[in-house]
């Protein structure tokens, strides 16, 4: 079965690029452009993985992560932070909230992101 990845990204260029590549790679990809939309998508269907941006309108990534961790059904969704911010405080908080990893967008190619997602999803039980 194809893995369901939720990509949360407010920048339309980055959203388009990442979505295109993940789909080419064979993932089912849903997208959200802000934190509130992300929670709405999650509640429609629990994804296998969330790729979560931090700096976003309405509700930022850490807010989304906290909300997911507080929900009975969303608590154990694997979440990877995919951000261009490298504030130590945010990295620390993300890890405290149980993010699996913290990736910096500009340091990764789309191919590397796909490979990493692939690896993560094969490690986590479906």
């Amino acid at each position: 079965m194809r893995k369901d990845v939720l990509l949360v990204e407010d920048d339309r260029f980055l959203r388009r690029a990442c979505e295109t590549k993940l789909k080419q790679h064979g993932f089912d990809v849903r997208v959200a452009a802000d934190g509130e939309e992300a929670l709405a998508r999650v509640h429609e269907r629990i994804p296998d993985l969330v790729l979560l941006d931090l700096l976003m309108p309405k509700l930022d990534g850490l807010g989304v992560l906290a909300a997911l961790r507080a929900g009975e059904t969303t608590r154990s969704i694997p979440v990877v932070i995919l951000s261009n911010s490298s504030k130590e405080l945010e990295m620390h908080e993300a890890s405290t909230l149980g993010a699996l990893a913290y990736w910096i967008k500009s340091n990764l190619s789309l191919q590397e992101i796909c490979n990493r997602v692939e690896r993560l999803l094969s490690e986590t039980p479906a």
Binding site: F13, A17, M56, P57, S83, N84, S106, S109, L110
Partner: protein
Amino acid sequence: MIEQLRAEHQLRAQYAVVEALASASTLDDAAPRVLRAVAEALGWAVGALWIVDQTANQLRCVHIWHAAGIDAHVFEAETRQGHFPRGVGPGRTWELGHPTWIADVTREAQFSRRAAAEAAGLHAAFSFPMILDGDVVGIVEFFTTEVLEADDDILRMFAALGQQLGAFVGRSRAREQIERFFTMSGDLLCIAGFDGYFKRVNQAWERVLGHTAADLLSQPYLNFVHSSDRIAATSELARLRTDGAVEFEHRWRCRDGSYKWLLWNATARPEDQMVYAVARDDTVRHAAEHQLQETLRMRNDFVSFATHQLRTPLSGIKWMLELAADTDDSDEIRSYIGDARESADRLIGLVNDLLDASRLEGGKLKILLERVHLCDVTRGVLDDVASLVGEKGHTLVVDASDTLPAAMLDHQLLRQVIMNLVSNAIKYTPSGGRINIQIGQSRDQLQWSIKDSGIGISPAGQVRLFEKFYRAENGLTVDTEGTGLGLYLVRLIIDRFGGTVTCESEEGQGTLFRFTLPVILETVS
């Protein structure tokens, strides 16, 4: 028998003087008691005490005493007002440096207060110097109603008394000097008891904190310490009792309710249950330190936010090129490259904004002043955004006065201001909105405003709107693609031209941005 009586009187006089000196702390206090004690013990009528005024180099009367029944008011007035240099009047004893005796002052040609003495019925006089470290510091003189020949016993006795009085003057001067330090010190000095109350505070307390000494002494001093610092203060005081001396710092409440940082240096004397402490107002240093931390924090915030803002379009370029490289479909390639170019434009826009902000902040941006018409600049901007306005279906109305004067401004910078405000209004107003621009003049100021029918900005957001990299909390107004520098630059530029920029908004009611600029007409250089 008479000898015995006299010796007894002298002894009584000496004893009375010792007692008077023991109970007084200053010469002003001691003088009346000493004069009275001696005069009464010896049965003399009038006594006066003089002090050497070092600056004027003459004697000044500290006090004059007379027995009941003596009408010496003229003599007293002359004595009080007299200023005798060395060698004149009582100044003779000063010059000689030892006790002197005059059998009858009314027959003494050199005695300047002769007439007054005669009127008061005074005849014999003796005086002796008060000596401190070998120097005459004052003179004491006594008068009696009889004519009396010199009495060596009395003179000898008073030579010794002069030493005692001189020593007293020395002690009280030393005390006054210490007292002066205590009073004048810019630092806050205090003596406090182990019972938690101040016993003494100097005037600096009132100058620095505003509390009177009475206020400070009336309640436990911990009451004046900031509530968050009280636990620390209590433990410092406990440490003071065991260690003997400590240094610490906490906030103290001022009379006006504000707080000041006091840096303390305290020493305890357990044997008399007292704490002697000096405090310095350290508020300015604290504020500077706080300011420095704040500056560092802001710089860090700036660097991390700028990093984020730069990485985002860079990631866009990188990823779009990666996608373009992976496909053979020329339409797809063209589309990816188009997005990469747009990201590159955003990156350039951001870099330019950062550079402009940094130059404006440092006052280094080159400004080209020329005759500029606000209406012309506005028209130019509106031409550029016409298609965007059309896309969103906004109605844009310009209401401009025809008679506006041209002002000396930088055309490019003014255009940047208007472009920022206009594109914000277009962007943050939901499709089909109304945007009104008004351009006018009020006295010597040009006024330009733009009102949109957008969802508005919260009061808290309005306050911070013109900050660097501020993004309004209100979700719909967050500019996910902007640089976070637009309104900050608007403010910097308007500031640069001596104008003001403000924002009025009510959530749900739209937003009004207004800037004013002074009309600076062309000057002949």
